[in-house]
Symmetry: C2
């Protein structure tokens, strides 16, 4: 039959498409990928809405037990649910390739992802450069390739979408070393933490007065969008996850009009925003 | 009440989200924006599915008659349907701002757009630079700002999503000059036409042997994805619209694995693809 890879969109059980819901209802087994992103609701809400059980698929299961996921998928339909769009994270490519090896057709069902929904802050999607990831720094590991990319984008006047790290079902180094399957509580990087990391790197790609836009719980009823300098946003309470951050490049005045509406302070916005008149 | 701006997704009436469908059903008037993109189905299919009439909103109506669209929106719900995601095209920002001026809350309902659905060709969404538009050249107007942007992207090893022009309800220069509201038949740029325009510009940003991916009717049952050199794709028949094109930058070998599966010829793909091993 078919392996459906179904995007759930951004926020709750009703962000699935009608096509996606029909597909889910045709499936014998339903997996929810729960390690690259999260919805604003738990799996119980999904189960109630689908009237079917949902199996949480963590990274371990997807990467090492794909046989179990694909089992009998030549005889029954299987759904693999992904927050956002099916192709937002590359980790699912592997599952698709394995299905293809077994001659199981895969059908993706698209949905919104942060990559397009971020358009709601007023910055044109045509004016973004490369998207970057910001991962949690540790004492010994501070990967900062985002700096160079933000710099290249800003030099061309482009905005940068920063996706912030999430850590789900991670083991501490000690537990990992001892082979103990004890997991740390999930961690979701907040906008202030991301900014602290950004500002901890010495660079001229941006500064504490660079204008940025913080977005929390995009697409939900409690969505929060706040614009301001990095410094200003560092002390905004954005509430529960997920958070994303856009570092602004040069704004067209029509973009600036919308972003200004989200500003912590219109005064600092007007002082520091780089706005072009054409 | 509320002005809903509802993304319809990419292909047919069932790509709307459950949330979007519920919103549509609560509305007294439903407009379909029909000039920046098209679905694969006509408005009759939407009307049958919604069990409600749908009013086609052309550019003229949205830009000059927004009062009519917003009429009574303080008393009843109004839906403004947009192909893809509500924020894919900036043209709707104006409608949102006008609604806000009148104190009418606007609620966007997100959906897939080509900007994230393009992930299905196997190229990572994190490895795209700025998106470009390719508009129909005329004898006297050949805007080619895409060249510089593709060049900048490729220099950084990044892929470029090229969105191809659509012309709906355009007037000929003569009819425009004479004020005659006679409209030309709609035109949708095909991938071969886009490539002809790309190759008509003298540049070293790309060449006839640059690897690219053509995508037609993304997200539909007749979706077509073909990879090859620009020259090869120029003679592929991609069928009915909409078409999009990705000019590849440097591919990670896992990206190349997937793209190669779509290649016109694996031999030319292997000869010309720029692939990195890490």
């Amino acid at each position: 039959m078919v392996l459906y890879i179904i995007g759930l969109g951004l926020s709750d059980e009703k962000d699935i498409t009608v096509k996606g819901l029909e597909a889910v209802k045709s499936c014998s087994r339903i997996y929810l990928e729960a390690y690259t992103s999260i919805l604003g609701v738990g799996k119980e809400r999904l189960e109630a809405f689908y009237e079917r059980p949902v199996i949480i698929a963590d990274r371990d299961m997807v990467e090492t037990e794909s046989d179990a996921i694909l089992q009998d998928a030549d005889k029954v339909n299987v759904a693999f649910l992904v927050v956002g769009d099916p192709f937002g994270a590359t980790t699912h490519t592997d599952l698709v390739l394995r299905a293809q090896e077994r001659g199981i057709p895969t059908v993706p069902i698209h949905n919104a992802s942060v990559m397009n929904a971020v358009g709601c802050c007023g910055l044109s999607l045509y004016q973004y450069g490369q998207t970057v990831s910001i991962v949690f720094f540790t004492e010994t590991w501070r990967p900062d390739s985002f700096v160079e990319k933000i710099g290249a984008n800003r030099q061309m006047g482009l905005h940068t979408l920063c996706l912030l790290d999430i850590k789900v079902k991670e083991q501490s180094i000690e537990n990992l070393a001892r082979g103990r399957k004890i997991y740390e509580p999930p961690r979701y990087m907040s906008i202030p933490t991301a900014i602290t990391q950004l500002l901890s790197v010495t660079t001229d790609a941006y500064s504490p007065t660079t204008i940025a836009v913080g977005l929390a719980r995009l697409g939900s009823a409690t969505q929060q969008i706040v614009a301001g300098t990095l410094e200003e946003l560092q002390s905004v309470d954005f509430g529960p996850p997920l958070h994303s951050l856009v570092i602004c490049g040069k704004m067209h005045f029509l973009e600036a009009d919308v972003v200004r509406g989200f500003a912590v302070s219109k005064e600092t916005f007007d002082r520091y925003a780089e706005v072009s008149e054409h």
